[in-house]
Symmetry: C2
Subunit: 317 residues, 2 copies
C-alpha cells in the first residue's frame, strides 16, 4: 500500500528527514494545501509528522479518520492528546535520549549567561560602554551555586552531570528518589527556598501547568535565577514578568515560551533576562539523530513491528 504522510507542524524539519519520508509514501505539507486538498488529506493521511508543541486534540483526531501513526520530531508530546490516541489505537513515536546532551548544554548555557550577564556584557562592548570607562556589575559564580533541578529525568540528569563539573551544589525535585547523590526534595517549594537557581526540566502536563507561579518565584527570591528549557506552559509568564519588574527574582534564562514563536515584549531588553528561540536541540548533529529516529519509527510502523521509541502507554504492533 502507499502511505500518505502529512507534515502537520509549522516547525522547520531537516531536509534529510523530508527527503527520506518522501521515499516512504506520498508526502505533503499542511501549509501547502488549500481547503480542498486539506479535506482530502483528512481522509487519506496515514502518518502525521508533528513536533513537540503541535496540537493534536480530539477535534483533530475526528478530522483525520484514517491516521494510524503520529511521528513526533521531539521528546515532548504535550500537544498530543495521548489518551485519545490510545483509545483510537494509534501509534505515537517521539525522539527521547538523542537530544539529552544538547538540551542539557542549552540549560547550562542559559544558566551561565544569566548569572554572568554574558549577553549584557556583549551589548556593553557593542555600545562602547567599556571604552567609555563604564564598569559592569560583578556576576554570580556558577562554582558553589546551589542549583535545584525540577524534574530529574533523562535531561535533568544530563544537566546535573554538567553542573557537577562546575562544582555546583545540586538538588532535584521529583516524585521519587533517584539513584543519585544529589539533595532530594519532594516539594518544589522547599527546593526553591533552598536554591540559588531553579532549572525547569519537567514534562508539561495538566498537573505541571503554571507550576512556576507567583509563590514559587517569591521563594526563589531576589538573588535567585530561573532557567526554563522544558515548556513555556510550566511558567506563569505574567507572574514572571511581575517578578522581574519587582526584583522578586534576580533574572531568567528562557528557551521556551507560552505562546511560541511570540515572546512577550515585556521580557525584551532586560540585562538580567536571556532569551533563545526554543533551540534546545538545535544543532546539526542532534537534529540529524532526531531525524534518523523518526525514520526508524516510521519504518518500524510500516514493517508492522513495535516502534523503536513509542510514547509511554501507547500501543505496540
Amino acid at each position: 500500500m502507499t502511505y500518505h504522510i502529512l507534515k502537520y507542524t509549522d516547525s522547520s524539519l531537516p531536509d534529510y528527514l523530508i527527503n527520506e519520508v518522501k521515499k516512504r509514501g506520498e508526502y505533503s505539507e499542511k501549509k501547502d494545501l488549500n481547503a480542498d486538498e486539506l479535506k482530502k488529506a483528512y481522509e487519506k493521511t496515514d502518518i502525521l509528522l508533528v513536533s513537540g508543541g503541535t496540537k493534536i486534540t480530539k477535534e483533530v483526531y475526528e478530522k483525520f479518520k484514517n491516521v494510524k501513526m503520529i511521528a513526533d520530531f521531539g521528546v515532548g508530546y504535550d500537544g498530543i492528546d495521548v489518551n485519545e490516541a490510545i483509545k483510537r489505537n494509534i501509534f505515537i513515536s517521539h525522539t527521547p535520549n538523542v537530544l539529552n546532551d544538547d538540551v542539557a548544554n542549552t540549560a547550562v548555557a542559559l544558566l551561565i549567561n544569566v548569572t554572568r550577564q554574558m549577553i549584557e556584557a556583549h551589548k556593553f562592548i557593542e555600545r562602547k560602554d567599556w571604552e567609555k570607562g563604564s564598569v559592569m556589575p560583578l556576576g554570580v559564580s556558577l562554582t558553589g551555586l546551589k542549583v535545584g533541578i525540577a524534574g530529574l529525568g533523562r535531561i535533568g540528569k544530563a544537566i546535573a552531570a554538567r553542573l557537577e563539573a562546575f562544582k555546583c551544589d545540586i538538588a532535584y525535585f521529583a516524585h521519587s528518589k533517584k539513584d543519585v547523590s544529589y539533595k532530594f526534595f519532594t516539594s518544589l517549594k522547599d527546593m526553591t527556598s533552598w536554591c540559588d537557581a531553579l532549572i525547569i526540566a519537567m514534562p508539561s502536563t495538566k498537573e505541571t501547568f503554571h507550576c512556576i507561579n507567583e509563590e514559587i518565584l517569591e521563594k526563589l527570591g531576589p538573588d535567585g535565577f530561573l532557567v526554563n528549557i522544558a515548556r513555556g506552559a510550566l511558567v506563569d509568564t505574567d507572574a514572571l514578568i511581575k517578578a522581574l519588574d519587582n526584583k522578586t527574582i534576580a533574572g531568567a534564562g528562557l528557551d521556551v515560551f507560552e505562546h511560541e514563536p511570540t515572546v512577550p515584549q515585556a521580557l525584551f531588553n532586560r540585562p538580567n533576562v536571556v532569551l533563545t528561540p526554543h533551540i534546545g536541540s538545535a544543532t546539526t548533529y542532534t537534529r540529524m539523530e532526531m531525524a534518523k529516529l523518526v525514520l526508524a519509527n516510521i519504518d518500524a510502523f510500516i514493517a508492522g513491528k513495535n516502534l523503536v521509541t513509542k510514547v509511554p502507554g501507547t500501543r505496540d504492533a
Copy 2:
C-alpha cells in the same frame, strides 16, 4: 613605619580591598593625583597596587625609586617587567588559583555561546525574527566537539575538567606532557589542524605574542572556533578580523583584547562573534577571594615574611 600604598591601575578594585589597604598605610590613587602629588608619590610609594595589564616598565621603576613591593590583583603579570623587579630586589605578588574556576567558567560560556549562537539567538528574538517566521541556522554541538586547549596550566586544566562533562574530545598543547589523559600536542599548529575549537589559556610573553596568527587561523579552518580568555596580545587581531571576513574560521569568543578597553569595531555585530569585557574573574565571590589574597600578600610583606603567592622567580623575605 608608615607604608605608602598607591593604586596604579585604572581597573576597578573591590571596595573591600581598598578599605582594608587604607588600614595598612597611607593610600592614594594615581587617577586622583595632580602632577605635583604624583611627583611626591614617585618618591615615597612603598607598595604599588596594580592589575594584570598594568605596565610596569623599566621607566616606571626608575620613577618609583622606593617601591619595595608590587601587589598584582590578577593572575597574569604580563605588564610587569619581572626581571627588572628581580634586579631591583622588589617583591611581586599575584593571585593565582582563586580565579581558576570563574575564568574556566567564562571560557566554557564563550565556547558554547559561539558554537550555539546564543547572543545571536537572543537578538533574533528581540528583533522579532522568530515571531515573523524566520528560522535560525542550526548550531554546533559541544558534545563530541574536538577542543584543543593551548596551555594546560591551572586554568587550562579547569577548562578541560568542565569540557569532560560536555563529552568533548579534549587535547592540549604544552611544552611538556602533563599527568592527564587528554591528547597531547607539542605543536600548536598540529593541534589546531586537529581541533574544532581552540581555547587560548597560555600566559602572554614575548614568545607567545601573536602566536594565533594568519597561519594558525587557516589551520583552524572554516568550521573552527577560537576562544581567548588569556590575553589579547596572544592573538593577531588584524589576522583574526581578516579570517572572520574571509570565513577562514567559523567564529570567535573573546574576553580579552589587544588594546583594552578598546575593542575594534570590526568585531562588532557579527552573529558568529561573542565579545565580553575581560570578565573572566568578574564575580562577587572570586573578586573577594582575589582581594583577600592581595591583602594576605601585603600583610606578609609588612610582617617581613615570604609572600603567600609570589610571582615565580621573584624574591623571598
